[in-house]
């Protein structure tokens, strides 16, 4: 019973050592490891010093160095290096001053000397290994009591090691950390742009007749008189806690306004994306299976046309035809009426539909000409089977990425469509507020849109990492 426990513990400790060793090789993880396990690291340093001084390796190296130095090797190497460096510069016709030349020769000679030492030690056939930091860790956790102690004092470090040990978890966490850093960067960037703005919201809102005191009290009320870093910190805190304060105009809570408007935009863009993908995928696939046919040419022409039409013009033409002339659909959007959502959704989805159809076609064409498809054909599979079983799965991978990216630009570009159909979404909210400029509102609108897009992109990345076996195997390797 006790033996089993000991064995079990042993294997865990061994695993921990091998992970620790791997992580020490990685520049970023090394520091994270040492910092998260700070109490343990502090204990390990004297242990490491003690053992590495005691180890046979250090002594052997010292004696080898001494031996070689006495034989006059360094001076000889330096002389050789000097000559070589001089000849090299002569060959390239460069003129270098003596000091730089000497430095280069010295560096060269030093490298050669340490190589010679290593070689000599290998020749002497001493198997002594250098004592590394991970050996100190290994020694420390060999004993179950010390292992338990190390878990207590360096718990965050073990959590990190646990994350690192599983390639999937590691990939997900790394991707999430990247997304958080990008969002932080976006917030700082947008805030800085609005901070250095030469516009003066106070005098824009209060009018020409505002007195100095009124402007000063406005600036004080909204914290505009604070230094840059204080304002930045407040804004970042506001973004995380979903409380960006009150907007300059209308005196409403920015987060409430955004919470009211954002779902409208998000719903419309999501529906538009789904609709566009449902229509575009079959078109792209059929175009690829019958390249250069009339069907292919006409649909690809329509797709290119769809890419070339500005959203607002398409919206206006739809309103002109379907609302004014034919009176089929309402010209403005109202949240409860699904009929009024048809035109905005189609207008929003047009560009995405066109891009996805073109992308599907080119991606399918590429896959269809791969060797494995020819093999599948050669072994006598029906072409429909080849298409659905073998080709589409692989062709979809780049398309998913494109859909994720285009969803972002659609969400960001929704302002134009919202203005045409009089939708009170986040885009038209930002545009309405930019004339003042209402800094908290713009800040909130832009940053929360960017956050949504980042989340969508993270999901797409993860999705496609798990769908694509090539990426899965790459993830395990590193």
């Amino acid at each position: 019973m006790t033996g089993q426990v000991a064995l079990h513990q042993d294997s865990i400790a061994d695993k921990a050592v091998s992970i620790y060793k791997k992580m020490l090789r990685h520049p970023t993880y090394k520091w994270l490891l040492l910092i998260l396990g700070l109490p343990l690291s502090i204990i390990l340093i004297p242990i490491f010093r003690y053992f590495s001084a005691k180890s046979g390796y250090a002594r052997l190296k010292e004696s080898t160095v001494q031996e070689l130095t006495q034989s006059g090797l360094p001076a000889q190497l330096l002389q050789e290096a000097r000559e070589q460096v001089r000849r090299k510069h002569q060959f390239f016709g460069q003129s270098v001053n003596e000091k730089a030349l000497e430095q280069e020769a010295k560096a060269w000679a030093d490298t050669k000397f340490s190589n010679a030492v290593d070689q000599r030690m290998q020749l002497q056939q001493h198997t002594a290994e250098p004592f590394m930091f991970e050996h100190a860790f290994q020694w420390f956790i060999m004993h179950p009591a010390r292992f338990a102690l190390s878990i207590i004092i360096a718990f965050p470090m073990y959590v990190l090691m646990l994350i690192y040990s599983n390639p999937y978890v590691k990939y997900i966490i790394e991707r999430l950390v990247m997304a958080v850093l990008v969002i932080l960067g976006v917030s700082v960037l947008v805030f800085t742009i609005l901070y250095i703005s030469p516009m003066d919201p106070a005098s824009n809102l209060l009018g020409e007749t505002a007195t100095e005191e009124q402007i000063a009290s406005f600036n004080q009320l909204y914290g505009l008189d604070q230094p840059y870093l204080v304002q930045l910190w407040d804004t970042l805190k506001g973004i995380v806690t979903l409380d960006l304060g009150k907007s300059f105009a209308g005196n409403e809570l920015v987060s409430t306004a955004i919470a009211n408007k954002f779902p409208i935009t998000l719903t419309l863009t999501v529906i538009a994306t789904i609709l566009a993908v449902i229509i575009a995928l079959p078109i792209g696939i059929i175009s690829a299976t019958k390249p250069n046919s009339v069907f292919d040419y006409s649909f690809m022409f329509i797709a290119l046309l769809g890419l070339s039409i500005p959203n607002f013009w398409l919206g206006l033409i739809f309103i002109l035809n379907f609302s004014i002339k034919l009176s089929w659909l309402p010209a403005t959007y109202s949240p409860g009426n699904w009929m009024s959502a048809i035109m905005p959704v189609v207008v929003l989805g047009t560009a995405l539909m066109a891009s996805v159809a073109r992308m599907t076609r080119s991606s399918m064409l590429e896959v269809i000409h791969e060797d494995y498809i020819i093999t599948a054909r050669a072994k006598g599979l029906k072409s429909r089977h080849v298409l659905w079983k073998h080709a589409i799965g692989n062709a979809l991978i780049p398309i998913i990425t494109v859909i994720g990216l285009l969803f972002g630009s659609m969400l960001g570009g929704a302002a134009v469509t919202e203005k045409v159909f009089n939708i009170s979404g986040i885009g038209s909210y930002i545009v309405d507020r930019q004339f003042i400029p209402d800094i908290p509102s713009i800040m909130g609108g832009v940053v929360y849109t960017a956050i949504t897009i980042s989340i969508v992109n993270v999901i797409v990345d993860l999705l496609y990492a798990f769908l694509d076996p090539r990426i899965r195997s790459k993830m395990k390797q590193y």
Partner: protein
């Protein structure tokens, strides 16, 4: 000799082997499409004083479409029966040339390609050069129907006419030479004159002139320049050449309109002619200030082209440099630059532009900056990927082995070999830039409202959608045509530059 194709495979092969067949079908279909649009407009849109003219032009498009389709049928029969096009059918191409009178460029191009059996790229380019000038001349000539013309109108028209004559002469001269023929030395003069006519904005003339000079200097010593090779491929795709034709036409119009168009018609209010329907004097009608929509759209081309080109060139240079440095030096430099650009990449272009314009105010300068910054990351990523690929090649290692400096390797040896994908990307993004510009103007965030820019014209027109829809439709059509032209050109360039197809 009759040599009838038997299998479906052979039929397909024969039809594909003759570019004239493809061009004939495309020209026929496009002419039919335009004819249908014109005729439907003439019949449905009531109260249009242009009805008879629309009917005539639409009818003539239909007429030439029918001729084209008959010729298409003969070409098809020729190919299936003989495997080549007979001289009699080739001569029928002359029937199509008069279509230039009704500005049916599709049919004219198909005809000019059909007439000659072995065409050189120079011949094809010369046809497009001439067409571009003729179209500009025709559109500028519409000004004669106005009550008054610009001061330099006659000078401008005379210059265009002289250019057209020179280009016609060079077309006839070039028609004599085949692709593989050596050009005589006096062709330098022709090339020089063609490049001089490119000052009107005729992009084809510039390319043709450069290509001729390269060809004369080469004299068959090498298999040809990369530039010539690209144009050879591009000239085979009629859609991308049509795209370039529209771009060239618009650039020429934008430049020559400084002489031939009276800006007061586009800018000054004229309250006696408010919201007029299209007529001879106002071909596209007038807006709510009585300004001529036609002149406004032509003048708007300047702004749209300028903003489109600048918002492509600026990020191309900045993004390209950042990407090149990032890809070449790698390690920490790469990490820092690319992570910083990831932040920019996370904000959608339009949203970033809105934020920048909110901070610094609307205006053409801020607009260009705002749109440029948003597309830096895309260019940087493409450039970085290219540089990574090229710097692992042997010749770069060789350059660094003989002691070349990093700057020399990067600028002399690596960058020239990474241009192709950047050119394709920039052609495709000019279209997006034009759409973004007009979108922002439509939101009131772009070009100042008093400047006739396409988005501004559309914004004004959208208020009169119910009563005078044409004020919103025509500027939109101009945007679509320009963007479509750039997209076609970009697609063609991508095919021509794609190393996979080489």
């Amino acid at each position: 000799m009759v040599n009838i194709a038997s299998t479906q495979q052979e039929i397909n092969f024969r039809l594909k082997s003759a570019p004239e067949y493809r061009e004939a079908s495309l020209a026929g279909l496009l002419s039919l499409l335009v004819a249908a649009i014109l005729l439907l407009n003439a019949i449905w849109v009531e109260g249009n004083s242009f009805q008879p003219l629309l009917l005539i032009i639409g009818g003539s498009y239909l007429f030439f479409a029918v001729i084209q389709l008959v010729i298409w049928f003969f070409i098809r029969r020729n190919l299936l029966h003989h495997g080549h096009i007979t001289p009699a059918v080739r001569r029928s191409g002359y029937l199509l040339l008069p279509a230039i009178l009704v500005a049916n460029v599709f049919v004219v191009i198909a005809g000019s390609q059909l007439i000659k059996r072995s065409k050189s790229t120079a011949y094809t380019l010369a046809v497009y050069t001439l067409l571009s000038t003729i179209l500009t001349f025709a559109v500028s000539a519409l000004n004669t129907l106005k009550p008054y013309v610009a001061d330099y109108f006659l000078i401008g028209m005379a210059l265009l006419l002289i250019c057209a004559i020179f280009q016609l002469v060079s077309l006839l001269l070039l028609a004599k030479y085949k692709q593989e023929d050596f050009l005589p030395r006096w062709m330098y003069v022709v090339a020089a004159i063609l490049i001089a006519t490119a000052a009107t904005g005729n992009v084809f003339a510039l390319f043709l002139g450069i290509m001729l000079i390269a060809k004369i200097r080469n004299q068959g010593y090498t298999s040809g320049t990369r530039f010539g090779e690209i144009f050879e491929k591009l000239a085979r795709s009629m859609t991308s050449m049509l795209g370039l034709l529209f771009v060239s036409f618009l650039v020429t119009l934008a430049i020559t309109s400084m002489l031939t168009f009276d800006s007061s018609l586009a800018i000054d209010n004229n309250y006696s002619a408010i919201l007029q329907q299209p007529s001879a004097m106002y071909p596209l009608g007038t807006d709510n200030f009585g300004r001529d929509l036609f002149s406004r759209i032509i003048m708007g081309a300047r702004i749209s082209l300028l903003v489109g080109v600048l918002t492509t060139v600026i990020p191309l240079i900045i993004g390209g440099l950042l990407g090149a440095i990032s890809g070449y030096y790698g390690k920490h430099t790469d990490n820092i630059i690319m992570r910083a650009l990831d932040i920019l990449y996370a904000i959608p272009g339009i949203l970033l532009a809105i934020a920048i314009i909110a901070a610094f105010g609307a205006g053409i300068f801020n607009l260009i900056i705002a749109l440029s910054i948003g597309s830096i990351p895309t260019y940087a990523r493409i450039m970085r990927a290219n540089v990574l690929q090229v710097s692992s090649l042997e010749y770069v290692q060789a350059a660094s082995a003989i002691g070349s400096s990093d700057r020399l390797i990067l600028f002399r040896h690596i960058l020239p070999n990474t241009v192709a994908p950047m050119i394709v990307q920039s052609t495709l993004t000019i279209g997006t830039a034009v759409i973004s510009t007009s979108s922002l103007s439509f939101l009131g965030l772009g070009v100042e409202p008093h400047i006739p820019e396409w988005g501004n014209i559309l914004k004004l027109g959208s208020a009169y959608l119910e009563t005078h829809p044409y004020t919103a439709i025509y500027p939109g059509l101009a945007i679509i045509l320009l963007v479509l032209a750039f997209n076609f050109l970009g697609d063609g360039l991508r095919d021509a530059l794609d190393p996979k197809l080489n």
